[in-house]
């Protein structure tokens, strides 16, 4: 199981556009890539963690990603409602990115509160869908499911429950099969079942 903060850490590597207010002629070389040059007023791509850091020092302005507008999010929401399966989202970390940008740079993003509500709606809808499909999966005893377009945070919400549930079910089933074999063999041997060996270990 991952902690939500760990998933946020992964989300911080996503690329975002910023407009710096300072000049730095050379590239900055990082493990995740080289970024630059920084020119005041000209937008450039950096990872989110760099953007947040610069924003906290008030040396840049963050440009909201394309999908982060109320209209776009409503569109996604309608699409998600209409579809039986999970739809593809513009980014795998929509919840985390919204959360991070709105805490640090709420002034840079127009209609921040509406965006927050829309993202929460989208999340709730997808989680409800996920939970009902998990339940269906267990109820009908299916053996495979495709998890297309699920985001890490959503998967993490069922991760602590789902494998253990399947494990418990498998343990119950497993022993049914072995006992069925035993029954078959005892039936074939006639009315008096032959002495079968019991395992005495727990």
């Amino acid at each position: 199981m991952m902690h939500p903060a760990e998933i946020e850490f992964l989300a911080e590597n996503e690329i975002i556009q910023i407009v710096p207010t300072f000049n730095h002629a050379s590239h900055v070389h990082l493990i995740c890539g080289s970024y630059g040059p920084f020119r005041a007023g000209l937008p450039l791509n950096v990872p989110i963690w760099v953007a947040l850091n610069l924003r906290q020092k008030k040396t840049c302005r963050i440009l909201a990603p394309d999908w982060m507008t109320v209209d776009k999010l409503q569109e996604r929401l309608e699409e998600e409602k209409a579809s039986k399966f999970f739809t593809q989202l513009p980014t795998n970390y929509y919840l985390e990115i919204t959360q991070m940008l709105l805490t640090v740079a709420s002034e840079d993003i127009p209609q921040g509160n509406d965006i927050k509500t829309a993202v929460k709606d989208l999340w709730d809808l997808r989680i409800a869908k996920l939970r009902s499909s998990v339940d269906l999966f267990v109820k009908e005893g299916r053996v495979q499911a495709s998890l297309n377009h699920l985001t890490p945070m959503e998967i993490n919400s069922v991760r602590p429950v789902f494998p253990d549930t399947l494990d418990a079910l498998m343990t119950l089933h497993e022993h049914i099969n072995s006992s069925d074999d035993r029954e078959d063999s005892s039936q074939s041997s006639g009315a008096t079942p032959s002495s079968t060996s019991f395992s005495l270990s727990l």
């Binding site: 939500p4 267990v138 109820k139 919400s157 602590p160």
Partner: protein, 274 residues
């Protein structure tokens, strides 16, 4: 710890059982309680201690501090399957079953010092723990009735609506004990197995919903079987993390202890060099 709580409750039920048997017949009470098998009890106690020590060594729960709640443990290596050292499995094997001997049983006097010279033939009903029944069944010298939670009436109740049943009250280790029972040779074993699986499937959605949605879930928690409680607790902890993350954010990142120590050592080494 989980284990201490269970032993207490187990000893309570044990003494209760002994009392109830005392009323019925004066002879059976000596067999019914584990206290009367000093040898077995000693082995079992040593065994439990050993398990406790082993568990403490093997499993290192990751600890961290939450802002709103106390220190929580995440056990990443939870094992749902009953294994040799599983305390739940041992406790489940301790549950009593009503049974009667159909054959004369000999050479068990080392278990029961009081009735060392008597046979167990043609006894009326007697209550034995599951692990003993298992041993006697190998010699086909015993037959047993399905315990209350698994008899035809309760199977009907569970099939009708498993969600309303208070499983913990019915049987603490409903699934494990049921599983062990259905491994024994009994005419109802097959139905018991089917009921177990169906009950688990039917109750799963409810367990998940309770864990993820309700804030005050003690009353719900009390109705779950031990196996369901494991799943419930995991889901609960994860949901709390998510809620805290959504309301308060992830907080400041900290420098790992390893890096800090490494730095200290570096400084120390450079000083020594100077």
């Amino acid at each position: 710890m989980n284990f201490c709580r269970q032993t207490q409750s187990n000893s309570k039920t044990k003494s209760f059982n002994t009392n109830s048997i005392n009323l019925k017949s004066s002879r059976i009470d000596s067999v019914a309680s584990l206290d009367d098998f000093p040898f077995t009890k000693k082995i079992l106690t040593n065994y439990l201690n050993e398990i406790l020590i082993l568990r403490c060594h093997c499993v290192e729960p990751r600890r961290f501090q939450d802002n709103t709640t106390n220190i929580k443990e995440i056990n990443m290596y939870r094992n749902i399957k009953p294994h040799y050292f599983s305390i739940d499995a041992i406790m489940a094997a301790q549950e009593k079953i009503q049974c009667s001997f159909i054959k004369k049983v000999e050479h068990v006097d080392f278990l029961d010092s009081i009735y060392s010279d008597k046979d167990e033939e043609s006894d009326p009903k007697i209550e034995l723990p599951l692990w003993m029944v298992k041993v006697f069944l190998v010699g086909k010298s015993i037959q047993f009735d399905m315990p209350k939670a698994y008899n035809e009436i309760y199977r009907g109740v569970l099939t009708a609506d498993a969600n309303v049943v208070d499983l913990f009250k019915l049987c603490k280790h409903f699934y494990l004990f049921g599983k062990f029972l259905s491994q024994l040779e009994h005419r109802e074993a097959y139905e018991v197995r089917r009921t177990l699986i169906q009950t688990f499937i039917d109750r799963f959605k409810q367990t998940m919903d309770w864990a993820q949605n309700i804030d005050d879930n003690q009353p719900c928690f009390n109705r779950l079987d031990c196996l369901e409680r494991l799943i419930f607790n995991d889901a609960r902890v994860a949901q709390q993390h998510l809620n805290i993350y959504l309301t308060e954010g992830s907080g400041q990142m900290e420098i790992a202890a390893m890096i800090l120590n490494y730095r200290k050592r570096k400084i120390h080494e450079s000083r020594v060099l100077e």
